[in-house]
Protein backbone atom coordinates (compact mmCIF):
# COMPACT_ATOMS: atom_id res chain seq x y z
CA UNK A 1 0.00 0.00 0.00
CA UNK A 2 2.96 2.34 -0.58
CA UNK A 3 0.93 4.42 -3.05
CA UNK A 4 -1.85 5.14 -0.55
CA UNK A 5 -2.62 8.90 -0.36
CA UNK A 6 -5.48 9.30 2.13
CA UNK A 7 -5.22 13.06 2.74
CA UNK A 8 -5.19 14.30 -0.87
CA UNK A 9 -7.81 11.65 -1.72
CA UNK A 10 -10.17 12.87 1.00
CA UNK A 11 -9.64 16.56 0.17
CA UNK A 12 -10.10 15.92 -3.56
CA UNK A 13 -13.20 13.88 -2.80
CA UNK A 14 -14.63 16.72 -0.73
CA UNK A 15 -14.17 19.08 -3.69
CA UNK A 16 -16.03 16.61 -5.91
CA UNK A 17 -18.78 16.48 -3.27
CA UNK A 18 -18.87 20.28 -3.18
CA UNK A 19 -19.24 20.32 -6.97
CA UNK A 20 -22.19 17.91 -6.76
CA UNK A 21 -23.77 19.89 -3.95
CA UNK A 22 -23.37 23.18 -5.80
CA UNK A 23 -24.85 21.83 -9.05
CA UNK A 24 -27.92 20.64 -7.12
CA UNK A 25 -28.21 23.87 -5.09
CA UNK A 26 -27.88 26.12 -8.15
CA UNK A 27 -29.16 24.13 -11.15
CA UNK A 28 -31.16 21.46 -9.34
CA UNK A 29 -29.26 18.70 -11.09
CA UNK A 30 -27.35 15.55 -10.18
CA UNK A 31 -23.63 15.83 -10.99
CA UNK A 32 -23.47 12.52 -12.80
CA UNK A 33 -20.95 12.76 -15.61
CA UNK A 34 -22.51 10.06 -17.78
CA UNK A 35 -26.00 11.53 -17.28
CA UNK A 36 -24.87 15.05 -18.18
CA UNK A 37 -22.98 13.67 -21.18
CA UNK A 38 -25.72 11.35 -22.44
CA UNK A 39 -28.26 14.18 -22.40
CA UNK A 40 -26.15 16.36 -24.73
CA UNK A 41 -27.30 15.16 -28.18
CA UNK A 42 -31.05 15.36 -27.55
CA UNK A 43 -31.24 18.22 -25.05
CA UNK A 44 -32.91 21.46 -26.15
CA UNK A 45 -30.49 24.33 -26.75
CA UNK A 46 -30.71 26.01 -23.33
CA UNK A 47 -30.37 22.64 -21.56
CA UNK A 48 -27.37 21.80 -23.67
CA UNK A 49 -25.52 25.06 -23.08
CA UNK A 50 -24.98 24.80 -19.30
CA UNK A 51 -23.97 21.15 -19.64
CA UNK A 52 -21.28 22.13 -22.12
CA UNK A 53 -20.01 24.78 -19.67
CA UNK A 54 -19.82 22.08 -17.00
CA UNK A 55 -17.55 20.06 -19.28
CA UNK A 56 -15.46 23.15 -20.08
CA UNK A 57 -14.83 23.53 -16.35
CA UNK A 58 -14.18 19.80 -15.94
CA UNK A 59 -11.39 19.96 -18.54
CA UNK A 60 -10.06 23.35 -17.38
CA UNK A 61 -9.74 22.22 -13.73
CA UNK A 62 -6.74 19.93 -14.25
CA UNK A 63 -5.12 22.47 -16.60
CA UNK A 64 -5.33 25.15 -13.90
CA UNK A 65 -3.90 22.70 -11.38
CA UNK A 66 -1.00 21.91 -13.71
CA UNK A 67 -0.01 25.59 -13.51
CA UNK A 68 0.56 25.04 -9.79
CA UNK A 69 2.34 21.73 -10.16
CA UNK A 70 3.19 20.38 -13.57
CA UNK A 71 3.11 16.71 -12.62
CA UNK A 72 -0.58 16.90 -11.70
CA UNK A 73 -1.18 16.08 -15.37
CA UNK A 74 1.22 13.13 -15.49
CA UNK A 75 -1.05 10.18 -16.12
CA UNK A 76 -0.23 6.56 -16.87
CA UNK A 77 -2.34 4.09 -18.83
CA UNK A 78 -1.95 0.43 -17.80
CA UNK A 79 -3.32 -0.69 -21.19
CA UNK A 80 -3.33 0.89 -24.65
CA UNK A 81 -4.53 0.39 -28.21
CA UNK A 82 -7.39 -1.97 -29.02
CA UNK A 83 -7.93 -3.03 -25.41
CA UNK A 84 -8.30 0.62 -24.40
CA UNK A 85 -10.80 1.24 -27.22
CA UNK A 86 -12.78 -1.83 -26.15
CA UNK A 87 -12.81 -0.48 -22.58
CA UNK A 88 -14.10 2.86 -23.87
CA UNK A 89 -16.95 1.15 -25.72
CA UNK A 90 -17.91 -0.86 -22.61
CA UNK A 91 -17.82 2.24 -20.38
CA UNK A 92 -19.90 4.25 -22.88
CA UNK A 93 -22.62 1.62 -23.31
CA UNK A 94 -22.55 0.43 -19.70
CA UNK A 95 -22.96 3.86 -18.11
CA UNK A 96 -25.85 4.81 -20.41
CA UNK A 97 -27.59 1.43 -20.00
CA UNK A 98 -27.04 1.44 -16.25
CA UNK A 99 -28.02 5.13 -16.00
CA UNK A 100 -24.92 6.30 -14.17
CA UNK A 101 -21.27 5.95 -13.31
CA UNK A 102 -18.95 6.53 -10.37
CA UNK A 103 -20.26 10.08 -9.86
CA UNK A 104 -23.98 9.68 -10.52
CA UNK A 105 -24.44 6.38 -8.67
CA UNK A 106 -21.31 6.31 -6.51
CA UNK A 107 -21.38 9.84 -5.12
CA UNK A 108 -24.80 11.39 -5.77
CA UNK A 109 -26.93 8.24 -5.60
CA UNK A 110 -25.39 6.84 -2.43
CA UNK A 111 -25.75 10.29 -0.83
CA UNK A 112 -29.51 10.02 -1.45
CA UNK A 113 -29.43 6.46 -0.02
CA UNK A 114 -30.85 5.22 -3.33
CA UNK A 115 -31.00 1.40 -3.25
CA UNK A 116 -30.66 1.43 -7.05
CA UNK A 117 -27.42 3.39 -6.90
CA UNK A 118 -26.00 1.32 -4.04
CA UNK A 119 -26.65 -1.88 -6.03
CA UNK A 120 -25.14 -0.34 -9.19
CA UNK A 121 -22.03 0.84 -7.30
CA UNK A 122 -21.41 -2.55 -5.67
CA UNK A 123 -21.92 -4.21 -9.07
CA UNK A 124 -19.52 -2.07 -11.09
CA UNK A 125 -16.90 -2.17 -8.33
CA UNK A 126 -17.11 -5.96 -8.16
CA UNK A 127 -16.91 -6.22 -11.97
CA UNK A 128 -13.90 -3.89 -11.98
CA UNK A 129 -12.10 -5.80 -9.23
CA UNK A 130 -12.71 -9.15 -10.96
CA UNK A 131 -11.53 -7.72 -14.30
CA UNK A 132 -8.30 -6.42 -12.79
CA UNK A 133 -7.73 -9.75 -11.00
CA UNK A 134 -8.11 -11.57 -14.35
CA UNK A 135 -5.83 -9.07 -16.08
CA UNK A 136 -3.23 -9.59 -13.36
CA UNK A 137 -3.48 -13.37 -13.58
CA UNK A 138 -3.11 -13.18 -17.36
CA UNK A 139 0.03 -11.09 -16.98
CA UNK A 140 -1.62 -8.01 -18.50
CA UNK A 141 -0.67 -5.75 -15.60
CA UNK A 142 2.83 -4.47 -15.10
Amino acid sequence: MENFTPVSATLGGMLIGLSALWLMAANGRIAGISGLLGALPRAPKGERRWRIWFFVGLIAGPLLMSLIRKNFLDIQFPVSGALLALAGILVGVGTQMGSGCTSGHGVCGIARFSARSIVATITFMAAGIITVAILRAAGGLS
Partner: protein, 144 residues
Protein backbone atom coordinates in the same frame (compact mmCIF):
# COMPACT_ATOMS: atom_id res chain seq x y z
CA UNK B 1 -25.83 34.26 -12.12
CA UNK B 2 -26.62 32.14 -15.18
CA UNK B 3 -27.02 28.37 -15.14
CA UNK B 4 -24.03 28.18 -17.47
CA UNK B 5 -21.77 30.06 -15.06
CA UNK B 6 -22.84 27.94 -12.10
CA UNK B 7 -22.24 24.80 -14.17
CA UNK B 8 -18.77 26.08 -15.08
CA UNK B 9 -17.98 26.47 -11.37
CA UNK B 10 -19.27 22.95 -10.68
CA UNK B 11 -17.15 21.57 -13.53
CA UNK B 12 -14.04 23.36 -12.28
CA UNK B 13 -14.52 22.06 -8.72
CA UNK B 14 -15.05 18.56 -10.05
CA UNK B 15 -11.95 18.72 -12.27
CA UNK B 16 -9.78 20.16 -9.49
CA UNK B 17 -11.05 17.46 -7.12
CA UNK B 18 -10.19 14.71 -9.61
CA UNK B 19 -6.71 16.20 -10.05
CA UNK B 20 -5.95 16.67 -6.36
CA UNK B 21 -7.12 13.15 -5.53
CA UNK B 22 -5.10 11.76 -8.51
CA UNK B 23 -8.22 10.00 -9.81
CA UNK B 24 -7.33 11.57 -13.15
CA UNK B 25 -4.62 8.94 -13.38
CA UNK B 26 -5.86 5.52 -14.63
CA UNK B 27 -2.93 3.77 -12.93
CA UNK B 28 -4.11 5.14 -9.58
CA UNK B 29 -7.65 3.85 -10.13
CA UNK B 30 -6.36 0.42 -11.18
CA UNK B 31 -4.46 0.44 -7.88
CA UNK B 32 -7.79 0.57 -6.07
CA UNK B 33 -9.38 -2.18 -8.17
CA UNK B 34 -6.26 -4.34 -7.74
CA UNK B 35 -7.58 -5.76 -4.49
CA UNK B 36 -5.57 -8.98 -4.82
CA UNK B 37 -2.37 -7.23 -5.88
CA UNK B 38 -0.72 -4.04 -4.69
CA UNK B 39 -3.93 -2.52 -3.26
CA UNK B 40 -4.27 1.27 -2.92
CA UNK B 41 -7.43 2.21 -0.98
CA UNK B 42 -7.26 5.90 -1.99
CA UNK B 43 -10.38 5.80 -4.21
CA UNK B 44 -12.50 4.76 -1.24
CA UNK B 45 -11.32 7.90 0.56
CA UNK B 46 -12.26 10.01 -2.47
CA UNK B 47 -15.79 8.61 -2.37
CA UNK B 48 -15.87 8.98 1.40
CA UNK B 49 -14.74 12.62 1.18
CA UNK B 50 -17.39 13.37 -1.42
CA UNK B 51 -20.13 11.68 0.63
CA UNK B 52 -19.03 13.63 3.70
CA UNK B 53 -20.20 16.72 1.80
CA UNK B 54 -23.12 15.39 -0.27
CA UNK B 55 -24.96 13.40 2.42
CA UNK B 56 -25.54 16.35 4.80
CA UNK B 57 -25.77 18.80 1.87
CA UNK B 58 -28.49 16.88 0.04
CA UNK B 59 -30.29 16.37 3.34
CA UNK B 60 -30.58 20.15 3.71
CA UNK B 61 -31.45 20.73 0.01
CA UNK B 62 -34.22 18.11 0.17
CA UNK B 63 -36.16 20.46 2.41
CA UNK B 64 -35.85 23.43 0.04
CA UNK B 65 -38.57 24.16 -2.45
CA UNK B 66 -36.40 25.05 -5.44
CA UNK B 67 -32.77 25.61 -6.39
CA UNK B 68 -31.20 29.05 -6.88
CA UNK B 69 -31.41 29.15 -10.67
CA UNK B 70 -34.17 26.69 -11.59
CA UNK B 71 -37.89 26.36 -11.00
CA UNK B 72 -37.55 22.89 -9.47
CA UNK B 73 -35.10 20.25 -8.27
CA UNK B 74 -34.54 17.37 -10.67
CA UNK B 75 -34.06 14.59 -8.11
CA UNK B 76 -33.87 11.21 -9.86
CA UNK B 77 -37.13 9.31 -9.57
CA UNK B 78 -36.21 5.85 -10.83
CA UNK B 79 -36.23 3.18 -8.12
CA UNK B 80 -36.43 -0.12 -9.99
CA UNK B 81 -33.47 -2.48 -9.77
CA UNK B 82 -33.66 -4.27 -13.10
CA UNK B 83 -31.56 -6.13 -15.67
CA UNK B 84 -30.61 -2.89 -17.43
CA UNK B 85 -29.20 -1.39 -14.25
CA UNK B 86 -27.21 -4.52 -13.37
CA UNK B 87 -26.16 -5.30 -16.95
CA UNK B 88 -25.04 -1.74 -17.53
CA UNK B 89 -23.09 -1.69 -14.28
CA UNK B 90 -21.37 -4.98 -15.18
CA UNK B 91 -20.33 -3.70 -18.64
CA UNK B 92 -19.16 -0.42 -17.14
CA UNK B 93 -17.22 -2.23 -14.41
CA UNK B 94 -15.41 -4.45 -16.92
CA UNK B 95 -14.43 -1.40 -19.02
CA UNK B 96 -13.40 0.47 -15.87
CA UNK B 97 -11.22 -2.45 -14.75
CA UNK B 98 -9.63 -2.83 -18.19
CA UNK B 99 -8.70 0.84 -18.46
CA UNK B 100 -8.81 2.51 -15.03
CA UNK B 101 -11.08 5.13 -16.59
CA UNK B 102 -14.64 6.14 -15.84
CA UNK B 103 -16.42 8.98 -17.68
CA UNK B 104 -15.32 11.86 -15.38
CA UNK B 105 -11.55 11.33 -15.56
CA UNK B 106 -11.82 10.25 -19.22
CA UNK B 107 -13.13 13.71 -20.13
CA UNK B 108 -11.31 15.73 -17.48
CA UNK B 109 -7.90 14.30 -18.37
CA UNK B 110 -7.82 15.12 -22.08
CA UNK B 111 -5.82 18.29 -21.32
CA UNK B 112 -2.85 15.99 -20.72
CA UNK B 113 -2.89 15.50 -24.51
CA UNK B 114 -2.05 11.81 -24.19
CA UNK B 115 -3.03 9.82 -27.28
CA UNK B 116 -4.50 7.10 -25.04
CA UNK B 117 -6.96 9.64 -23.61
CA UNK B 118 -8.29 10.35 -27.08
CA UNK B 119 -8.57 6.67 -28.01
CA UNK B 120 -10.63 5.95 -24.91
CA UNK B 121 -12.74 9.10 -25.07
CA UNK B 122 -13.52 8.64 -28.77
CA UNK B 123 -14.69 5.06 -28.21
CA UNK B 124 -16.67 6.07 -25.12
CA UNK B 125 -18.47 8.96 -26.84
CA UNK B 126 -19.40 6.93 -29.91
CA UNK B 127 -20.80 4.07 -27.83
CA UNK B 128 -22.56 6.31 -25.27
CA UNK B 129 -24.28 8.44 -27.91
CA UNK B 130 -24.89 5.35 -30.04
CA UNK B 131 -26.65 3.66 -27.14
CA UNK B 132 -28.74 6.78 -26.49
CA UNK B 133 -29.89 6.86 -30.11
CA UNK B 134 -30.62 3.13 -30.02
CA UNK B 135 -32.57 3.42 -26.78
CA UNK B 136 -34.26 6.74 -27.59
CA UNK B 137 -37.96 7.18 -27.41
CA UNK B 138 -38.56 5.94 -23.91
CA UNK B 139 -36.09 8.16 -22.07
CA UNK B 140 -36.43 11.68 -20.75
CA UNK B 141 -33.53 14.10 -20.98
CA UNK B 142 -32.45 13.49 -17.41
CA UNK B 143 -32.64 10.04 -15.95
CA UNK B 144 -29.88 9.06 -13.61
Amino acid sequence: MSRSFSALIAGLLFGIGLTLSAMLNPAKVIGFLDLFGNWDPSLAFVMGGALLVTIPGYFVLRKKEKPLLETQFFWPEATQIDAKLIGGAVLFGIGWGLSGLCPGPAISGIGALNVNSFIFLGAMLVSAFGYRVYASGNQGIEKL
